[in-house]
């Protein structure tokens, strides 16, 4: 496969991952009393499937689409104002998390333990950005911000990490058939 075709494939895959991240803001699967929104699972998968650079590109395009006003953020909203709103920190955290997850995962060359480690690190990056910004914007104490913006979602995050492993295992061969993220360091 020539370089331009590979580049085009990576671009289209990153676009589709960005669209899936947007779709993830709309879809919830009820597991237990709290429905699980799939958005941050899809952010983690962008890093795992596309690697650091293209994972970051994918989330960057998602954020850009939201910035120009497309309804891609949670609750069907969009606009640049969302970035300075209370959930703006999570949005920026998504970009950092996708990059870090991708970089760690690339070094693990498909190892399950490394992938799990990468997702745990990525999850805490999202909360670091999200809770810090939530605290600044709403003026809550750090304990209240953590109680509102992190603790209720941790169980769901554990389930998402557990689910991501078999999903990524079954999807990697499809992607690797076209572009080898781990070998090319894309």
């Amino acid at each position: 496969m020539d370089t331009s075709t590979k580049q085009l494939k990576l671009m289209v895959y990153a676009t589709m991952m960005a669209t899936l991240t947007a779709v993830g803001a709309y879809i919830a699967i009820p597991i237990g009393p709290v429905p699980i929104v799939l958005q941050n699972l899809f952010v983690m998968m962008a890093g795992l499937l596309l690697g650091g650079r293209w994972g970051l590109t994918s989330v960057g395009v998602y954020l850009l689409a939201g910035a120009i006003g497309l309804p891609v953020f949670a609750g069907g909203t969009g606009g640049i104002g969302k970035f300075v709103g209370p959930t703006g920190g999570y949005l920026l955290g998504f970009a950092a998390a996708a990059y870090v997850i991708g970089m760690i995962s690339q070094r693990g060359k498909g190892s399950v333990a490394v992938d799990v480690f990468a997702m745990i690190v990525g999850t805490f990056i999202i909360y670091f950005f999200g809770v810090s910004w939530l605290k600044i914007v709403t003026g809550m104490s750090i304990s209240k911000a953590v109680a509102v913006g992190m603790l209720p979602f941790l169980i769901g995050d554990v389930l998402k990490i557990a689910a991501a492993i078999p999903i990524v295992k079954s999807l990697r061969p499809i992607i690797a058939g076209n572009i080898d993220v781990h070998r090319t360091g894309a």
């Binding site: 075709t5 085009l8 494939k9 671009m11 289209v12 895959y13 990153a14 676009t15 589709m16 960005a18 669209t19 899936l20 947007a22 779709v23 709309y26 879809i27 919830a28 699967i29 009820p30 597991i31 237990g32 429905p35 799939l38 699972l41 590109t57 960057g60 395009v61 850009l64 689409a65 910035a67 120009i68 006003g69 497309l70 309804p71 891609v72 949670a74 609750g75 069907g76 909203t77 969009g78 606009g79 640049i80 104002g81 300075v84 709103g85 209370p86 914007v137 003026g139 809550m140 209240k144 509102v148 389930l159 689910a163 078999p166 999903i167 079954s170 999807l171 499809i174 992607i175 076209n178």
Partner: protein, 255 residues
């Protein structure tokens, strides 16, 4: 398009109806770069502003909404999910617990909580105003213009990718609903392990999307895809200078 929430898989919202609404109001006629610049400056100032600035800002918003023919009822309907969030923020900020663990609301804390909610609501209103009075293609062109000086960013590729997101978002949402329906029809809700639902749904959705991605690559290559495409022309006018002047005056009222 997405239907109401159903048991098994549900949609947390619908594609919002807040989008570009054609018109000839002063806001419609402004350059999108001016609108984005003023919006960003006002949003950041609003976050830390006091009540007098919020009053001035709210009055300006009301005038702009009126001139753009945007109705308050429809607006509140569209942002109803965000209003729930604001209520939550208000409760968390305003309610504290006494020594006997009774919930207490003091007037000072309630006033502070209301101010925080007021600021957040204004920021959302400003975003809605921008989206309602600016074409997506114009906002995209403004973003390309804004991204040009950034190193390591291919602004034309970014624009193409955003265009594809616009095209594929409704299609993938539709597919996600189809997969949810198909899985329910096959009795997925009877599976005891909750992770199975998550894994089966996500794997199927991703497989279909990547299959479509491969088809899209072939289609783009067959049509000699190139990053160099024609963009809408943007130009600053006298109205933009006036708008920036008004924006600066409003910002100064925060000092």
């Amino acid at each position: 398009m997405l239907g109401s929430a159903r048991k098994g898989y549900s949609t947390m919202g619908e594609l919002t109806a807040i989008g570009f609404k054609p018109g000839s109001s002063p806001l419609h006629r402004l350059d999108p770069r001016t609108k984005q610049l003023v919006l960003m400056a006002l949003s950041v100032t609003t976050l830390w502003a006091d009540v007098p600035f919020l009053v001035v800002n709210s009055m300006v918003m009301m005038v702009l909404f009126h001139s753009a023919h945007l109705h308050a009822r429809r607006l509140f309907l569209e942002i109803r999910y965000f209003l729930f969030f604001l209520f939550f923020v208000f409760v968390v900020r305003a309610v504290s617990f006494s020594d006997q663990m009774f919930p207490v609301i003091t007037p000072n804390e309630a006033a502070e909580a209301l101010t925080v909610c007021w600021r957040l609501l204004l920021i959302v209103f400003m975003g809605v105003l921008l989206m309602s009075t600016t074409r997506t293609a114009d906002i995209r062109a403004a973003l390309i213009w804004g991204m040009k000086p950034l190193p390591f960013v291919n602004e034309r590729m970014a624009a193409t990718m955003v265009g594809l997101v616009v095209r594929f978002l409704p299609l993938i949402l539709f597919q996600a609903n189809e997969i949810g329906d198909a899985m329910r029809a096959r009795g997925i809700e009877r599976r005891r392990n909750p992770l199975i639902r998550l894994i089966k749904f996500t794997t199927t959705l991703f497989r279909r999307v990547f299959l479509r991605a491969d088809e899209l690559v072939d289609t783009m290559q067959a049509r000699c895809y190139s990053e160099h495409r024609t963009l809408p022309e943007l130009s600053f006018s006298r109205n933009d200078i006036i708008a920036i002047g008004v924006g600066i005056l409003v910002l100064l009222s925060a000092c």
